[in-house]
Symmetry: C2
Subunit: 221 residues, 2 copies
């Protein structure tokens, strides 16, 4: 079995790989797991010995097949628990991250498989992030950042990039919850900010490009 710490490192590496980078830097990992770079080096050696990552000094790391499996499983557990917390216990989407961060390390195959069925095998968590299935497969949709949606098009909010509670609460307050349908009415050349209409509502909302880039949407039809 792997320690919680090992699992957190693998998850961090996976997230960095997912974000685009091919080779992952020590510093990037350090900032994700909130520890000193020197500690990361220690852990990388350990993970390499266990064949969970491929690692050569100064050259960055990548996940091995088994390391990737562990990482995906942690993400699966994290997202299933988040779904549980929101759908069954009534938490809001800005409150669940820290609790799921603990729950994701509970070790029991049968627990997760039962939880998955109990929840109805959800495909996405409360932030719209895909929940990998029991084989580690992500079923993703073709979403785009709201910032690149074309003018006059109609889109559905399916996720967020920024997961900070403060951002999530802002969206909630302004009516930009998951599943909401919006129409892009105007876009300023100067700063790429946009005026949008939330389906059902009367008044236009103004969104900076900074914010629009952090909202994922599915174009309609």
């Amino acid at each position: 079995m792997h320690s919680q710490t090992e699992e957190n490192y693998l998850k961090a590496i996976f997230k960095l790989l997912e974000k685009g980078e091919k080779k992952i830097s020590t510093n990037a990992i350090a900032s994700l797991v909130e520890t000193a770079p020197a500690s990361v080096t220690d852990m990388l050696k350990k993970l390499a010995e266990k064949k969970l990552i491929r690692y050569e000094k100064y050259q960055g790391v990548t996940l091995s097949v088994s390391g990737k499996k562990v990482a995906i499983n942690i993400i699966r557990k994290h997202r299933l628990w988040e779904y549980f917390l929101v759908e069954k216990l009534g938490f809001t989407w800005d409150q669940v991250h820290d609790i799921a961060e603990q729950l994701e390390h509970i070790k029991s195959e049968s627990l997760i498989s039962r939880l998955d069925s109990y929840l109805g095998n959800p495909r996405v968590d409360p932030h719209g992030d895909p929940i990998p299935d029991e084989h580690g497969v992500f079923h993703t949709q073709n979403t785009i950042p709201l910032s690149v949606a074309s003018i006059n098009s109609s889109v559905i909010i399916t996720g967020v990039i920024d997961h900070r509670p403060v951002f999530l609460r802002f969206l909630e307050k302004e009516g930009f919850g998951l599943g909401k349908k919006i129409i892009i009415k105007e876009k300023e050349d100067i700063d790429q900010s946009m005026l949008v209409l939330i389906s059902g509502s009367k008044k236009l909302k103004h969104l900076s490009n900074e914010i629009a880039r952090n909202i994922l949407v599915l174009p309609e039809k």
Copy 2:
């Protein structure tokens, strides 16, 4: 905050106190937490410094008020999670201990209070053990071991003393689940074994005294 290990020591001490002993021995704790006595001594010093226990060398330990509070809260969490695992996820009563042993250390007040309401504020866990309320109060019933129930009396099974999965599976297989009503038909002088009738069933079941002592019942009327 306290470490998981500290929580486990406090829980162990609480359980020993609950079982009758006034002063708790190092060896008893060692066997409950499955560690060497020397390790227990180390931890006792640490817990005493934190004022969670009262400890004098060679004299055993007792819990302080704050230590007791921590212990009861861990037990509350353990039992609520066991209830969840059985009632919501469909586990059987012999499968939930090890998973709850992990879940009990998740730190979040709001999680437990929401879980408690979600489950309908249950009073007892799947083994019939009382679940302390949010103030740490146990609401107990006047149960007795089946072994001392009087002949021809009718009783309801409300709990078990032995929690080993092998014992629980035996009870389940023989039809002695929680809530079952049974009548004591005969009692052998020689070994105190008894013949009982499970309500609804036709044939008498034989129970050794050893087993009857590990079944808790509520006498009817």
